[in-house]
Symmetry: C2
Subunit: 530 residues, 2 copies
């Protein structure tokens, strides 16, 4: 193609009218999609094997701009002719349609798997503004308003968590795993500042990290990443509700202290990933204070319960922690990712990293440096990701988040009651929040209960997923596999719970029928595809 011709394509690609048409089309397609998902006119997911999906996605990349079907475009910039970009918009429409068709329908009422919300469409549109204007953070001047929005949100969420107004540190980063790593880096730097420059090997005894038995895998990962060695992770036993045992913690810390092993931090959880357990934070904070140990609370899932009048007491003592992670993209119902990290001591927010980057920070105005996020976050070019939370809060107000939280926890409690009452389900325990663990055990006519073993639960879950009629996850608690449901859609109603249970029963029946008919050993039977 001629150079001139490429210039035309470039101008077309940045044309405001073209952008308008794409945006309006997206708004229409998403609205239709949302409507169909909410009214169950489609499956929550049209299952396809990864290889096939990848081949399909790759086939789109053979397209070229000089495709003859695009020849009708009028390149007169600002011509105001709404139809001139028709062919390009048509291509956009087909691509968006396939993306919607093949996505996981988190807004489907039977989608109740991971801790990923049916995100608020309004939050999505605010977040879209970030994508369109490409506001980034790292230095304040690159995205001044988005930095301000982030600070505003952090200031207010910090207050909700119970920290003193204007007297805590906070940042937003790309996910809970990164936030937990950043917290542990700050704890390391504060207590063992020589490690940054000289390395872990300068210490004769490696510091240990003392963690909740069910801590998210990212804590162990952080310890590995930081070069401390994952064998220096010490797990504290849990009680029968899988909350950290206060006695257990005291014993572990005493033992470490007696052996003169340095302790980097205690990591407690508020809303454990496996089952949503909340640690007794006040008591744990007391023990940590007694031993002079940094307390980090991974409240990625549960921290938001502070917004609920009914459930906030589960977080009593949270404000005593040295650092706390809360993911807005979980229980504040905004799209991923917007992970918030709080420090009780403001100076700790500057502890994790300690460096100089001459092309970033402007020595002619040092007062700005504390607003330059690259100083406090792992990311340099950081997506502005708090706009969704700010937007929803601005329009619906703070109490709205409490209402959303109350809804999903109430639904989880209803689910627990239904599962408990049903003959053919076993439920692990009354949920602490919106995570329910259970298993399908068949009823008396189904014969031996050993048929419904761990492997059956796994296959049942997969079958349900591939049927597209319901989404659960699985987890292992105390050596046994459970089906795991996280209620993350505030529109989920009681009739949806009945339907979900019905879908599980049907999947179980088909699975058992398949096993009997084909007479294959269970362990080798592939899951069915629909």
């Amino acid at each position: 193609m001629e150079h001139q011709s490429w210039d035309d394509w470039i101008r077309a690609s940045y044309n405001p009218e073209f952008s308008l048409q794409c945006g309006e089309k997206l708004a229409q397609l998403f609205s239709t999609h949302l409507n169909r998902l909410q009214s169950e006119q489609r499956e929550f997911q049209a299952w396809m094997e990864p290889d096939e999906n990848v081949r399909n996605a790759e086939s789109f990349l053979a397209a070229t701009a000089n495709d003859s079907s695009l020849r009708k475009i009028d390149f007169t910039v600002g011509s105001g002719d709404c139809s001139s970009y028709g062919d390009l918009v048509e291509k956009f429409e087909s691509a968006i349609k396939i993306c919607l068709e093949k996505s996981q329908g988190l807004h489907h009422p039977l989608c109740a798997g991971h801790q990923v919300p049916a995100s608020l469409p309004l939050a999505g549109w605010f977040d879209a503004l970030t994508s369109l204007t490409n506001q980034v953070q790292g230095v304040y001047e690159m995205g001044p308003w988005s930095v301000a929005v982030e600070r505003a949100v952090l200031n207010r969420v910090g207050l909700e968590l119970g920290f003193d107004e204007g007297r805590f540190g906070a940042l937003v980063t790309s996910g809970g795993s990164l936030a937990n790593l950043t917290a542990l880096l700050a704890a390391r730097q504060t207590q063992f500042p020589e490690v940054w420059g000289s390395g872990v090997q300068t210490r004769s005894t490696s510091p240990v990290v003392v963690v909740h038995e069910d801590a998210h895998y990212c804590i162990e990962r952080a310890v590995g990443v930081m070069g401390l060695g994952t064998k220096h992770l010490v797990r504290v036993p849990v009680d029968e509700e899988r909350r950290m045992s206060v006695e257990g913690l005291t014993r572990v810390l005493s033992d470490l202290r007696n052996r003169e092993v340095p302790i980097l931090a205690v990591v407690s959880v508020a809303g454990s990933t496996a089952c949503g357990a909340f640690d007794p934070l006040s008591a744990i904070a007391g023990v940590c204070q007694q031993f002079g140990v940094w307390l980090h609370v991974d409240a990625a899932h549960g921290g938001a319960l502070r917004f609920s009048e009914s459930h906030r007491s589960k977080l009593d003592g949270l404000e005593l922690a040295d650092s706390v992670v809360v993911d807005a993209h979980k229980m504040l119902f905004v799209p991923a990712v917007c992970a918030m990290l709080f420090f009780k001591e403001p100076r700790h927010q500057f502890a994790a990293f300690d460096q100089d980057a001459p092309y970033l920070f402007d020595p002619s105005k040092p007062t700005l440096a504390s607003y330059d996020n690259a100083v406090v976050t792992m990311e340099c070019t950081k997506r502005a990701s708090a706009l969704g939370l700010w937007g929803v809060w601005s329009i619906f107000g703070k109490s709205f988040f409490g209402a959303l939280i109350d809804r999903v926890i109430n639904t989880a409690e209803q689910f627990y009651l239904r599962l408990k009452q049903a003959d053919d389900f076993e439920v692990w325990a009354k949920p602490s929040c919106n995570i329910v663990l259970f298993s399908y055990c068949g009823n008396s006519s189904d014969g031996h209960s050993e048929l419904f073993d761990d492997e059956f639960q796994l296959r049942l879950r997969r079958s349900l997923l591939e049927r597209g009629q319901g989404y659960l996850t699985q987890t292992r608690v105390a050596g046994r596999i459970y089906l795991r449901s996280t209620i993350m859609n505030p529109l989920m109603e009681e009739r949806d719970l009945d339907r979900l249970m019905q879908q599980i029963r049907e999947a179980a029946r088909e699975l058992r029928a398949g096993v009997c008919t084909e007479n294959e050993p269970v362990s080798a039977t592939p899951t069915q595809h629909h």
Copy 2:
């Protein structure tokens, strides 16, 4: 408020019609915004001090849903009445308007600072789909199509970089800093696998990381994070164009080898942050091969030049590297963040982390695990961020990226020529890509050249920024401060370069006038606000 009433608000917030109205409004507002920026009807940024911006952003958070102005909403779901959400949409409109007004206008033709592109609006709309549907990665089933899209893009970009089809490893992560850390973790794990479990202190001698003198600060940060100690970073000298010296590298590696110091990796750059220098990769790869050392290339900025017929030779030898980082949110013109990490050896993509998470990975279908991103990326809940690149590629074709790259590099070359010809500018060197370093030095009538010192350049840049009439960054190269321009807007034309230079001259004049009038010592004069 009554419980029932909150349920109404919750239903309203998820209503497809409400979403449609917000989306259409956003499309209109952004189109107008883009048009005004492109035609310079507004400043690239309306400067405001952070404290004031934060106060402003925080004032929005006092809103509540039971605001009397919102009482007119008809909560009949699916009533189809387009006006029923009017008040909410009006609130949305005001919030979006302020966000647009206060954002940095990367699409303004005089915005030429950081390596952050005037992103393609089309890419923004594809990215918006991620925000709306909340497709996340971590496990394939959570965002099957977005995982597939990511793989498809990685497969094709890897081919462009020169890796063998289907025989390399790759992943997408949240930014170049995280991608570089992930690469170095893989290098550490591959060569020193005992560190993950036992810690850096198990080694009597810490491994060192050998880096380009101007390597991005995230490399030093990664070394600090990994517990290796930043003093174990060895810098290789550069030549006068600030490319890594091959002789220097050989000398450093020989010396380390002689002293039996283990070498974790050599980090080379392709498009250095400071000035856009490209290392002689073939020669460097040869040296690394000779010493049996892992070569990592930080091609976050420059890697995309492989898409340009005219410039791809600058990356000769890139395919010999063990790991390579390329940021699509730089020279592929998509919004932040979409950082890609490639490994020559497929198995290395699984090396950085090594763990078990029972609630994520499904043992009933182990073949899926290689599509479960949490295994290979730091993030667990990971935003699906490759949709923008896939969408633009699908619609405009691969060669389009080459055209965009050629455009901005050509503009940078034009800028260099203009600056060189002008009496009152000094330019550092002919640009290697789209980064131009220069300083304002006044002309003969301006008197002593010592007035135009480092500090003057810094204040000049800040003044320009706060006037909102042009955006540059600054950097220190070989001990001297330069103004730094990165041409990241393919619509920037030669007349814009003239205008930018004119704006710099005016800012310089005002700055000098201010200094003379007020007779304050230069070092204490604050920058001016407009």
